[in-house]
């Protein structure tokens, strides 16, 4: 049985549907990330589950228990906020102890758990300080420790890392996973940052305009997006899209983008026979471009695209290159490599081999994938 079940959950503000009949279930011990652009309804959904926002329609159940009309405190949820929500007039110790005291925990439990939690998040030397004497990263760890001392039924996170520097964010992700693994309770994590969702979530719900577009594991979202929105939202640099006409030539189906053309592999051809002659959207992930000499598949002019390198961005895993197609109409695209492309390639034309087994095709009208579902 699911730990949390949400059925047809809806929130209406006036005539605007902020959350539009969404369904999902969180398994026991699962970490579910909700991700989407600002205004997609992810935070509103989280706040309804926390009890901070009344439900317009639908059901929220913790186990069997319907919690729609139960006050936040009685739901036994622990929540971590973007702005940390630490009390400025209380010391770190009292901030961490606050949830326990509010629920009448015995003094011995507080004396034991608060220092232990502070040690877990490496803020034990700061227990006597006030929040204004702390950095942003330290405040966030106070907020995490405050959730950690609780024995909550559900852990909820509302963009807890967005106010932190890049370097601190990496460490804080580890802190959140440590908290989750220790507690083993269902967790719901809201963010606008897909890389954070991918790093943390066992599964990820991608939201747009109040609806869940797809709920899946990170790799399924990436490899088999249902639609154009999910394909574009997941992955950075984003998926490259080209308008292509599907043409038959020599009994093979080609994707013809005028600036280049690719022969589609047999397993893709089978799925798009009905679309031959039409213009569709071709999606190529940045890492599916390969330096020809190092491509893990045979390279020919049937799967090669030429581009002029305009920017090279180094990354721990190699680099991202931003290019534009050689022929007019010139179009920008991004490619990522496992090696660091030297700066000497800036402004130069290079050939790139496309792994056509991994391309995506979308219907331009419905935006649905022609290859998945």
């Amino acid at each position: 049985m699911a730990a949390i079940t949400v059925k047809q959950l809806t929130k209406r503000y006036g005539d605007k549907l902020a959350v539009d009949h969404i369904d999902f279930a969180l398994r026991e011990g699962e970490f579910l990330a909700m991700v989407g652009p600002s205004g997609c309804g992810k935070t509103t959904s989280l706040r309804m589950i926390a009890g901070l926002e009344p439900v317009t329609a639908g059901e929220i159940r913790f186990g069997e228990r319907l919690v729609n009309d139960i006050r936040p405190r009685a739901r036994n949820v622990a929540m971590v906020f973007q702005d940390y929500a630490v009390f400025p007039h209380l010391t770190v110790f009292e901030n961490i102890a606050y949830g326990l005291r509010a629920r009448g925990a015995p003094r011995s439990v507080i004396a034991e758990r608060v220092p232990a939690a502070a040690k877990t998040f490496q803020i034990d030397p700061l227990l006597g300080r006030k929040p204004r004497q702390l950095s942003g990263g330290e405040r966030q760890r106070v907020a995490l420790a405050r959730a950690y001392v609780r024995d909550a039924e559900v852990y909820l996170y509302d963009e807890p890392l967005s106010n932190l520097d890049a370097q601190l964010r990496h460490a804080a992700r580890e802190d959140i996973l440590a908290l989750h693994q220790q507690k083993g309770r269902p967790s719901l994590y809201v963010t606008h940052d897909q890389s954070e969702a991918m790093a943390l979530g066992d599964r990820i719900a991608v939201m747009r305009a109040g609806r869940i577009e797809q709920l899946d594991t990170g790799s399924a979202l990436y490899e088999r997006p249902y639609n154009l929105f999910v394909a574009q939202f997941i992955g950075t640099p984003g998926i490259n899209l080209f308008d292509v006409r599907l043409r038959v030539e020599g009994e093979q189906i080609w994707a013809d983008a005028t600036v280049f053309r690719l022969r589609l592999p047999d397993e893709v051809q089978i799925k798009v026979r009905a679309q031959v002659g039409q213009t569709v959207k071709l999606g190529i992930r940045p890492e599916d471009f390969h330096v020809p000499k190092r491509a893990p598949f045979p390279v020919s002019d049937e799967n090669t695209v030429h581009g002029i390198v305009s920017v090279i961005e180094p990354a721990a895993t190699g680099c991202a290159a931003y290019l534009s197609t050689v022929r007019e109409p010139s179009q920008d695209f991004a490619a990522t490599f496992k090696l660091r492309l030297p700066a000497t390639y800036l402004g130069k034309e290079i050939p790139l081999a496309v792994d056509t087994r991994r391309v995506h095709l979308f219907d331009p009208a419905t935006e649905q994938s022609l290859l998945t579902r």
């Binding site: 890049a166 790093a199 660091r340």
Partner: protein, 363 residues
């Protein structure tokens, strides 16, 4: 066509603690230099001094060799873009661009010609933005108008202070590319301030890393990454960050935890005997090494979007992150060894660097 030189700039607000301490920096004509550092490092103060919004206690600022230290901001010909866009809310996009020409009583013909030239350069859909008031535009669109408002004035210099920090992640990715292309196209000398190292790397031809009022190092990404000036720069640049582990050197051998490795001779000869710290970046580990030390795995972070995984764990009490293939098996421990040609060496105490690998030769 502007080259900017900062010469021994010092600034303190309270007369004691230096907000900026002996800053020397030259930005070449058309170059973008990003300034990055933790909050409070002085990067915004530096930007204000270049703009003329603050004045240094010591030192001089030169634009093309002319001392502008005492020149007012309006006379410096600087275009500034801030994180909150600061558009005139009641004016449409076009009115925002026109404002400068009205205030300076330039001719209507010049105004129209400049706006048209700028709009053409800003791209196909920019004309649409010119007809809208700021409240009907997204953050990214407002920022484009703000940038165009700078370009239309034909500035000597662009100053950007966290211009995309308020956009959500996906929009930020797109907008930073647009800004980068515009900077390329116009080849305007630019100082770009951010707290985000990835953004600094992306935007800057060179990157200045600041801490506590000082520039710790300035250089291209490769220089900062492969030849950092000290431990601070080594840990600040690179995400996930470098792992730093205490070790002992003796007889050309390095002992880390309970494992001893022979060092390549040219490396062993160069390093002092005794206690050191070895720095290993995530891609600098050999996994499942026959003579490896035991890495206790805490968590394997799999990133399908990068077709890679990071193994987070501890090695003899130090935190370690190692890059692995996406499908690396879920294990509790594995044997790892540093790739010595990529390793950095630091003194046992303090921040001094003993050895850096230099930029690798890939081809």
């Amino acid at each position: 066509m502007t080259q900017i030189t900062l010469h021994h700039i010092t600034k303190s607000y309270d007369g004691q603690n230096a907000a900026l301490h002996d800053i020397n920096l030259t930005i070449a004509d058309g170059e973008t230099v990003s300034v990055v550092g933790p909050s409070g490092c002085g990067k915004s103060t530096l930007l204000k001094i270049v703009a003329g919004l603050e004045f240094p206690e010591q030192g001089q600022i030169f634009y093309n060799g002319h001392d502008v230290t005492e020149i007012k901001p309006q006379a410096r010909g600087v275009g500034m873009v801030f994180q909150d866009y600061a558009l005139y809310p009641t004016r449409r996009g076009e009115g925002n661009l026109a404002y400068f020409f009205e205030v300076h009583q330039r001719s209507a013909a010049e105004e129209q010609a400049r706006i048209k030239a700028t709009a053409d350069l800003m791209g196909v859909d920019f004309a649409w933005l010119l007809g809208r008031t700021p409240d009907t535009l997204s953050g990214g669109q407002q920022q484009r108008v703000a940038i165009a408002r700078c370009i239309v004035r034909d500035p000597n210099l662009f100053l950007m202070d966290e211009p995309i920090v308020n956009l959500d992640a996906k929009l930020r990715e797109r907008t930073r590319m647009e800004i980068k292309k515009l900077l390329r196209q116009f080849a305007i000398t630019t100082l770009y301030v951010t707290h985000d190292q990835q953004e600094a790397i992306f935007m800057g031809d060179r990157i200045a890393v600041m801490r506590r009022g000082r520039i710790e190092q300035i250089g291209t990404f490769d220089e900062l990454y492969y030849t950092p000036a000290n431990l601070f720069v080594a840990t600040f640049i690179g995400a996930p960050p470098i792992s730093v582990l205490p070790a002992t050197l003796e007889n050309g051998q390095l002992t880390l935890a309970n494992t001893t490795w022979p060092l390549p001779a040219e490396l062993g000869d160069r390093l002092p005997v005794g206690a050191v710290r070895v720095g290993v970046r995530p891609e600098g580990w050999r996994l499942d090494a026959p003579t490896g030390a035991a890495l206790t795995v805490r968590h394997i972070e799999r990133i399908p979007t990068q077709q890679a995984a990071f193994i987070h764990g501890t090695l003899a009490g130090s935190a370690v992150t190692a890059l692995a293939p996406l499908d690396y098996p879920t294990v509790h421990t594995l044997a790892v060894a540093p790739l010595w040609e990529n390793a950095l060496f630091f003194a046992a105490e303090g921040e001094a660097i003993l050895h850096t690998p230099g930029t690798p030769d890939l081809f």
